[in-house]
């Protein structure tokens, strides 16, 4: 299977044109395989669940926490759902024609691409200036936690703190989606002058053929990567034990019990004058 497609330029040079669409099927297959494998594991494994007594004790300790704890502000939720809608339109308009469903997809694709790009720009500004920017990123310091998380998933009771605001898996996913999303978005914006949008003067020659090849291949790789990533995301969003996370993305809050059950108050302190994540009785 050829992973990349090549063509001849007018000057007789072989240049990249785009990725092989077989990669789309590979990504789709990988996403579905992951979904089946994980679902099967969750059904039959003895993965670790925290005992409810542990959360009961924490609830007694953190009496002064509010019943509802904000997890996602309105702006963050709006960004998420606008981005999700744009992403679905982009993936369906890109890959349904490849799968054999023929329709005029280009207009919807570039329009959705602009919406996605605008929402990403908004998110960058919002996350940089109005959110805890570093809480979502991963780094070398997370390697011990990664090891512990893997051990827990295999049923080993490993001691260690619970998650901060974003679990490690969530942060790893965010990193992947940032790479794929930015790859698709930046290359997509570069392609806008290649098509008729009425926004800019058409000029397909402002990059060299070879550079266009790299642009298209990057766009294609990011696109097929997003297929697998989106399948994984939707899968986790609809898993029963994750509904509390999904509901938080709709309504914005989680309950005090969910907070204490899944998060380490010291890693995700819930601040404010009337609330405190310190145990009751402590100043």
């Amino acid at each position: 299977m050829d992973l990349l497609r090549w063509g001849r330029s007018p000057w007789g040079e072989w240049v990249l044109t785009h990725v092989s669409w077989s990669l789309f099927w590979a990504s789709l297959f990988a996403g579905v395989l992951f979904f089946i494998a994980h679902a099967g594991y969750m059904l039959f494994s003895a993965h670790r669940k925290r005992p409810s007594a542990e959360t009961d004790a924490l609830e007694a300790l953190y009496k002064n926490l509010p019943e509802k704890i904000e997890r996602h502000g309105l702006a963050a939720r709006l960004f998420h759902w606008v981005m999700a809608a744009a992403m679905f339109v982009l993936l369906f308009t890109a890959f349904l024609p490849i799968a054999g469903v023929k329709f005029a997809w280009v207009y919807w694709h570039w329009m959705a691409g602009l919406v996605l790009t605008a929402s990403i720009l908004f998110h960058i500004v919002h996350a940089t200036f109005f959110m805890d920017f570093w809480s979502i990123w991963v780094g070398p310091k997370d390697i011990p936690e990664l090891k512990n998380e893997l051990m827990r998933e295999f049923g080993v009771d490993v001691p260690g703190p619970k998650d901060g605001k974003y679990p490690l898996g969530n942060r790893l996913y965010h990193t992947a989606i940032v790479l794929a999303g930015l790859g698709a978005s930046i290359t997509g914006i570069l392609m806008i002058p290649r098509i008729r949008t009425g926004l800019v003067t058409r000029n397909p020659y402002y990059l060299a053929d070879a550079t266009w090849g790299i642009t298209y291949v990057t766009h294609g790789l990011a696109g097929v990567g997003l297929v697998g990533l989106v399948i994984a995301h939707v899968y986790f969003a609809i898993r029963p034990e994750k509904w509390w996370v999904t509901k938080a993305m709709i309504f914005g809050f989680i309950t005090k019990r969910q907070y204490l059950e899944h998060h380490e108050p010291s890693r995700w302190p819930v601040g404010g004058k009337s609330t405190s994540t310190k145990p009751a009785g402590q100043a």
Binding site: G7, P10, T17, H18, K102, F103, A104, R194, Y205
Partner: protein, 337 residues
């Protein structure tokens, strides 16, 4: 880029004697097969070595694909019927002379003897960038060489360009749409009937194909209903030379007049987009109006609304406008643009 001409690549030649056998072969070889009708389009691709199919399925031996039958006031024309036979057919001349006029203006007498109706309507575009072997959108690449600031695009599209600006070159296609024809398509799953209007597809839907035929399907016949039989027809083709040339723009119209008023009309222009362009807005406009200069003028202006020209094809706008005006005036009109 350099093109090696006249030496065809190696392929397996199949000459099935029935439609079923042809479909089995196409189903077996899929996209590796090339369907050969009259060969006038296909041979160019083969001699230029721009298409290198593993199998060529020649439909020339299938008798059931040839001939013209009268059916309930209409006609069923086998896809492999030569254009010259259509031109000579008495019922075509009497009731559907629009198709006769269109077929008669295809290329040259020799080509009309060899060329078939199915081949003429299913032929590939003539965009020379595409046919020159460059890896453009239509050839599976990521650029339209005909739609750049420096392109030579005199013959290209003024409507519905979507990345690719190639046009449909067929003369008989607009006539068939104007006659409300249906295309009979056979494939492994059986037969399906597609209105002629929906037979061709633009680059927005599928940039690598000109029509709805899947690799394992063939066009077996074209059915013309009696709907527009005996209407007032008009066909005009403008080309650079008066024989053996493709249309710069052509127009086909079928108009039914009662008293002084137009009561039914179908008007189609080709070579302005990747599909024959039915002018539904013009048809709506002219219904109930007299076939006069005023109506023709309004129709001409309306027909070109929304046209987007390229660097070298702005002339197609007044050309199309005037052809539509002339179609409204009709063949008997004495006044000119």
């Amino acid at each position: 880029m350099a093109v090696i001409r006249d030496v065809m690549p190696v392929f397996e030649l199949y000459q099935p004697a029935s439609i079923d056998d042809a479909i089995k072969l196409l189903d077996k070889h899929g996209a590796d097969a090339l369907v050969l009708a009259g060969g006038l389009d296909s041979m160019d691709w083969l001699k230029d070595r721009l298409k290198k199919p593993k199998a060529v399925v020649d439909l020339g031996q299938i008798k059931e694909l040839k001939g013209i039958k009268e059916t309930n006031g209409g006609l069923e024309i086998g896809a492999m019927t030569p254009l010259s036979e259509i031109v000579r057919h008495p019922v075509v001349r009497e009731k559907f002379s629009l198709l006769m006029e269109a077929a008669e203006l295809v290329a040259s007498p020799q080509i009309r003897n060899q060329g078939t109706l199915g081949g003429n309507v299913s032929q590939d575009t003539r965009c020379w960038y595409y046919r020159g072997g460059w890896t453009c959108y239509r050839a599976g690449g990521n650029i339209c060489y005909a739609d750049t600031p420096t392109s030579v695009n005199r013959e290209h599209a003024i409507f519905d360009a979507d990345r690719c600006v190639a046009v449909n070159p067929s003369d008989t296609a607009p006539a068939l749409v104007a006659l409300d024809a249906s295309m009979v398509i056979r494939g492994p799953k059986g037969e399906r009937i597609v209105p002629a209007e929906d037979y061709w597809i633009g680059p927005g839907i599928d940039i690598t194909r000109m029509n709805v035929l899947a690799p394992n399907e063939i066009l077996t016949a074209i059915r013309i209903p009696p709907t527009m039989a005996g209407a007032q027809f008009y066909f005009e083709k403008v080309r650079d030379r008066q024989v053996w040339d493709f249309a710069l723009v052509n127009v086909a119209s079928a108009i039914v007049v009662s008293g002084e008023k137009i009561v039914k009309a179908r008007m189609v222009v080709n070579a302005v987009a990747a599909t024959p362009r039915r002018l539904k807005n013009v048809e709506t406009l002219i219904i109930g109006k007299a076939r006069n200069e005023e109506t023709a003028d309004m129709a001409g202006k309306l027909a070109v609304e929304g046209a987007e020209t390229l660097r070298h094809n702005a002339y197609k706008v007044p050309l199309m406008r005037n052809l539509v005006k002339r179609a409204i005036r009709g063949a008997g009109a004495t006044w000119t643009s």
